[in-house]
Symmetry: C2
Subunit: 175 residues, 2 copies
């Protein structure tokens, strides 16, 4: 038994319960540097200071996770970071997928929401938000990542039980 | 009178007095997410907490600043941010220029160093480092920027005096 997830377009409105969409569209815009630079200002609520944490900047390079048939992704687990937000911004202009579940819940396949992000949209997961690890649609897709460094246990994983089953994203289906 | 700046290739070694080069080359690498993601870990010493500051994430979209002849950039001023680092990572794979001067000095055209960054290299300016505002080589080049939000005066500009003169980057010259 697998729940098939609808894949929704990513918008700041639809994603608001889960975090920020990092994009120029709709942003506060300042003209700086003698008018030569547009600053799309303060696009993500970075929150990494808990328990002495600090921001760290990394690059993630992802590989696709399709099943052997090539067009299905199985969602078998989720993770969350209790001590800090985690922001991803794509470094190549490819779409990618984001799978999340509400902060406060336990998590099961029936809680999941899936979004398709464009290559000019980043996401910033709220602290403690259930999310699936990186789901790229092109091998080697890279992201600038801003998350929390410091002591403390900042990672919780939940693998779905046999009773819970799994979820599937079928990329041959229309949105 | 103008000093002509040599443009050096950007490397972590040559840039070390000024800050970090954010790039996968040479980085500590972790394999995460069941082996599907390479994490190039902790690439920039973000330092934005002074006086109650916090990290903010923005997108900068730059326009070129060539003189009318089209191949020269004039460096007439520099700026620094006393309260925090400022990191830039390019969102399209174009080269760009970085002009800096040592932290401790006053600043004049004779102090400047110019670097050519590739489109897969970001920079993180040390706190209080003299640097020139964004110098793109392609109109519309965008950067993810991580700098400091919060109260306090975090911007100092110095326009070169007539006695100091200016500096020039001549892109028709070889490196």
């Amino acid at each position: 038994m697998a729940r098939i997830l609808d894949v929704e377009p990513l918008t700041s409105e639809s994603f608001a319960p889960f975090g920020d969409v990092i994009e120029t569209a709709g942003a506060e815009t300042l003209l700086i540097n003698e008018g030569t630079t547009q600053r799309f200002h303060d696009l993500a609520a970075i929150d990494v200071g808990a328990d002495g944490g600090h921001p760290i900047t990394s690059i993630f390079r992802g590989q696709t996770r399709f099943t052997k048939t090539g067009d299905v992704i199985e969602i078998k687990m989720m993770e969350r970071h209790p001590l800090g937000t985690q922001a991803f911004y794509p470094l190549q202009d490819h779409p990618y997928l984001v799978v999340v579940a509400p902060v406060a819940s336990g998590v099961s396949p029936t809680d999941l929401r899936a979004f398709r992000a464009n290559g000019n949209q980043g996401v910033n997961y709220k602290r403690d938000l259930w999310h699936h690890p990186l789901l790229v649609l092109a091998d080697g897709h890279e992201f600038l990542v801003i998350d929390r460094g410091g002591l403390g246990d900042n990672s919780v994983e939940h693998c779905f039980s046999l009773d819970q089953g799994i979820a599937r994203i079928d990329l041959t289906a229309g949105d």
